[in-house]
C-alpha cells in the first residue's frame, strides 16, 4: 500500500510539455466522441445498421497491432533505462514497423470502403466512421514521425541510462494514439 502511494507521487514520464499536448489531443478526441454519441442518439437505427457492415476482424487486428506496438515502445523505454541504446533502437524500430502495418491495413480498409461506394455523404454513421478513423490515421502518422526521430537519436547514441526523457516523451504520445484507438474501436466498431 505504501508502495502504491509512493508510485503515485512520481512525476509524469517524459517532458511535461508533451502532457499538455496529450491533454489537448484528448480534449479534441473527447469532443469528437461526444459528438458521435450525440449524433447517434437521434439516428440509432442508421448507426446500428451501418455499424454491422464494418469489418470487425480488421478493427480487431488494428487494435492488436497498436497494443503490441505500445508494448514494443514500453520495452524500448526499459532498454534505455538499462543502458542499452541499441536494444532501445530495435524495439522502437519494431514499434515503427507495427505502426506501418496499421497504416497499410487501414488503407486496405479505406480502399474497400471506397470500392463499395461509401463516402462522407453516404450517411451520418459513415461520415463519423470515416472522419474519426482518418483523423486517427493522421495521428498515427504523426506519432510515427515522432518515434522515427527518437529512434534515429537512439541509434545515434544520444540517449543513455541517465538521459532518456526523449524516449519517454515519444512513448507517451504513442500510448495516447494507441489509447484513442482502443476507445474508437470499441465505440465505432463494437458497441451498439
Amino acid at each position: 500500500m505504501i508502495e502504491t502511494s509512493a508510485d503515485s507521487a512520481q512525476p509524469l514520464p517524459g517532458d511535461f510539455a508533451i502532457w499538455i499536448f496529450i491533454f489537448a489531443e484528448l480534449v479534441v478526441f473527447g469532443v469528437l466522441f461526444a459528438a458521435y454519441a450525440f449524433a447517434r442518439s437521434s439516428h440509432v437505427d442508421v448507426f446500428n445498421a451501418s455499424q454491422l457492415t464494418l469489418n470487425r476482424a480488421y478493427g480487431f487486428a488494428d487494435t492488436l497491432i497498436l497494443v503490441t506496438s505500445s508494448y514494443s515502445v514500453a520495452r524500448a523505454t526499459l532498454s534505455i533505462k538499462a543502458g542499452s541504446s541499441t536494444a532501445c533502437g530495435h524495439w522502437l524500430a519494431g514499434a515503427l514497423g507495427l505502426g506501418g502495418l496499421f497504416l497499410v491495413l487501414k488503407s486496405v480498409e479505406f480502399h474497400q470502403d471506397l470500392a463499395q461506394g461509401i463516402t462522407l455523404s453516404t450517411n451520418l454513421f459513415y461520415m463519423f466512421y470515416l472522419a474519426l478513423t482518418f483523423f486517427h490515421f493522421m495521428h498515427v502518422v504523426m506519432g510515427m514521425a515522432i518515434l522515427a526521430v527518437v529512434d534515429y537519436k537512439a541509434y545515434a547514441g544520444r540517449y543513455s541510462a541517465e538521459n532518456y526523457t526523449g524516449v519517454e516523451t515519444g512513448g507517451s504520445y504513442w500510448h495516447m494514439v494507441d489509447l484513442v484507438w482502443i476507445i474508437l474501436f470499441a465505440l465505432v466498431y463494437v458497441i451498439h
Partner: protein
C-alpha cells in the same frame, strides 16, 4: 537591435501605422453611413468606404508582418538580411501600389476600374477582401515573392531557430494561400470554396502561426526565459492550430451548396479552435511569471500579454458563439459576425502587430525602451483602444441579436431594413465607441513624438521615493 539591416523594418512599421489611421477613418465614415445612408453620397458610397476599411486593414497588417519578418529573421538567424536594398525597393512598390489602389477605389467607379485593369481577361475582382484589381493582386504576389526570397536566403545562411522556421514557413503559407485569389469560377459554391481557403486559411490557420512566432520572439527577448521552453509551447500551439483550424474551415460551408457533412465537421472542429488561444494565454502568462529580467519596455509587455487575451475573446469566444451550425443558421451574415470580425482582427492581428512595433520601434530608434512618459501615453492608448473595441463588439453583438430575433427567428419576420432600423441605437453606440477608438489611436501615436529614452536612474529614484 543587433544588425544594421534590421533598420529596413522601420519604414514598414511607420507605413503600417499610417495605413491603420486610414482604416479607422474609413471605418468611422462607414459606421456613420449605417445611421445616415446618404452621408457623403454619391462621392463616397458605403461599399467603397467599407471596401477601403477592410482592404486597408489587410494591407497594414501585411506591412506590419513584413516589417516584423525583416526585423526578426536577421536577429534570430544571427546574420544580416540577405538584401536590405531589395526589402526597401519592395516596401516602396507595395506602399505605392496600395495607395494607388485606394485612390482608384475613391475616384474610379468599381465597374470602370474592373474594365480598365483587365478583369475581363482574368476575372478576380468583387469578392470581399479580394476587391483589388488584377495588377494589384499580381503586385501582392511579386511583393510576397521578394519577401520570401529575402527572408529564406537569410534563414539559409544563418542560425535556424524554431521561431524563424515557424515564421518563415508561415510566410510561405501566407503567400501560397493567396493564390486562390486568381481562381474565380462562375459556380458560386466553388468560388466560395476558393475564397475561404484564403480568408479562413489566413486568419484561422496560417496567421495564427505568425502570431505565435511574433509573440514567442517578443517573450524570449523580454522575459529572458529559456528559448527551449518557448519553442516547446510554440510547437504545441502550432499543432493545435492546424488540428482544429484546417478542418474548421467547414464552418464556412454550411448551407452554401457544399456537402452536408460539413455541418458536422465544421461545427466540431471549429468548436475546438479556441484551444490554441487558451494555450497562448497560458503560455504568455507563464513566461511572464517565470521571467528572469525586468525589461524596461513595459508598454511592449502590455501589448504582448493583451494580445492572447483579446484574441481569445474575439476569435475564440465570439467565434465560438456563432460557429455551431444550428446557431449559424440564424446568425449568418448579421452584425454578430461583424462583432466577431472586429474583436478577432483587432485582438489577434492588430494587437500582435502593435506588440512587435512597440518592442522593435524603440530599438530601431536607438534605445532599449521609450521614456516613462512616452510609455504612459502608449499604455493609455492601449487601454482606450481595447475598451473602445470591446464597446464596438458589444454594440454590434446587440445589433446582431436584434436582427436574429426580429428578422430571422420571429414567427412574423420583419423586413431587413425595418430590423436594421430597430438596431439603430446599437449603431450609434458603435459609432461613439469608434470615435473613442480613434482617440485611443491618436493617444497611442502621440507616444512616438515624445523624445528621450528610458532612464533607469530616474525611475529608480522615483520608485525609492515612493
Amino acid at each position: 537591435m543587433k544588425y544594421p539591416s534590421q533598420q529596413v523594418a522601420k519604414p514598414y512599421f511607420i507605413a503600417a501605422l499610417a495605413l491603420f489611421v486610414g482604416q479607422i477613418v474609413f471605418g468611422l465614415i462607414a459606421g456613420l453611413q449605417y445611421l445616415h445612408g446618404t452621408f457623403l453620397f454619391p462621392e463616397l458610397p458605403f461599399d467603397v468606404a467599407h471596401m477601403s476599411h477592410t482592404n486597408l486593414l489587410i494591407v497594414w497588417l501585411l506591412m506590419a508582418f513584413m516589417g516584423a519578418a525583416y526585423f526578426i529573421v536577421p536577429e534570430e538567424a544571427q546574420t544580416e538580411l540577405y538584401s536590405p536594398r531589395l526589402a526597401l525597393v519592395t516596401f516602396w512598390v507595395f506602399l505605392i501600389a496600395a495607395a494607388l489602389t485606394i485612390v482608384a477605389y475613391l475616384f474610379v467607379p468599381y465597374a470602370q476600374l474592373a474594365a480598365i485593369t483587365g478583369n475581363a481577361a482574368l476575372p478576380t475582382m468583387g469578392r470581399g477582401y479580394l476587391e483589388q484589381p488584377l495588377p494589384t493582386k499580381i503586385g501582392i504576389v511579386l511583393v510576397a515573392l521578394s519577401l520570401l526570397f529575402n527572408v529564406t536566403m537569410t534563414l539559409i545562411k544563418g542560425r535556424k531557430t524554431s521561431i524563424n522556421l515557424i515564421l518563415v514557413g508561415s510566410l510561405w503559407g501566407l503567400a501560397l494561400l493567396f493564390l486562390p485569389a486568381f481562381y474565380f469560377p462562375h459556380d458560386t459554391v466553388k468560388a466560395s470554396f476558393g475564397w475561404w481557403w484564403i480568408v479562413h486559411g489566413w486568419v484561422e490557420g496560417d496567421w495564427e502561426l505568425i502570431l505565435g512566432a511574433l509573440l514567442g520572439f517578443i517573450l524570449i527577448k523580454m522575459t529572458g526565459v529559456d528559448r527551449e521552453i518557448v519553442e516547446k509551447w510554440l510547437y504545441i500551439i502550432v499543432a493545435m492550430t492546424l488540428i482544429s483550424g484546417i478542418i474548421g474551415i467547414g464552418h464556412h460551408y454550411y448551407y452554401t451548396g457544399a456537402p452536408s457533412y460539413w455541418i458536422w465537421l465544421g461545427s466540431i472542429f471549429s468548436a475546438l479552435e479556441p484551444i490554441p488561444f487558451i494555450l497562448l494565454i497560458v503560455f504568455s502568462f507563464k513566461m511572464l511569471m517565470q521571467r528572469r529580467r525586468e525589461h524596461p519596455n513595459k508598454a511592449a509587455m502590455l501589448w504582448a500579454l493583451g494580445t492572447p487575451v483579446m484574441a481569445f475573446l474575439g476569435a475564440g469566444l465570439w467565434g465560438f458563439m456563432i460557429t455551431l451550425a444550428p446557431a449559424q443558421y440564424y446568425i449568418h451574415g448579421t452584425n454578430f459576425t461583424a462583432a466577431h470580425g472586429h474583436l478577432a482582427f483587432f485582438g489577434a492581428y492588430a494587437m500582435v502587430s502593435l506588440a512587435i512595433i512597440s518592442y522593435a520601434m524603440p530599438l530601431l530608434r536607438g534605445r532599449t525602451a521609450n521614456s516613462a512618459a512616452a510609455q504612459r501615453w502608449e499604455m493609455a492608448g492601449f487601454w482606450i483602444m481595447v475598451f473602445s473595441m470591446i464597446g464596438i463588439t458589444l454594440a454590434l453583438t446587440g445589433a446582431g441579436i436584434v436582427t436574429v430575433f426580429l428578422q430571422r427567428a420571429a414567427d412574423d419576420p420583419m423586413g431587413f431594413m425595418q430590423a436594421q432600423d430597430k438596431a439603430r441605437v446599437f449603431f450609434w453606440v458603435r459609432e461613439f465607441a469608434g470615435v473613442a477608438f480613434f482617440i485611443g489611436l491618436l493617444v497611442y501615436l502621440r507616444s512616438f513624438f515624445i523624445a528621450g529614452e528610458y532612464e533607469y536612474a530616474d525611475e529608480m529614484k522615483q520608485a525609492l521615493a515612493a
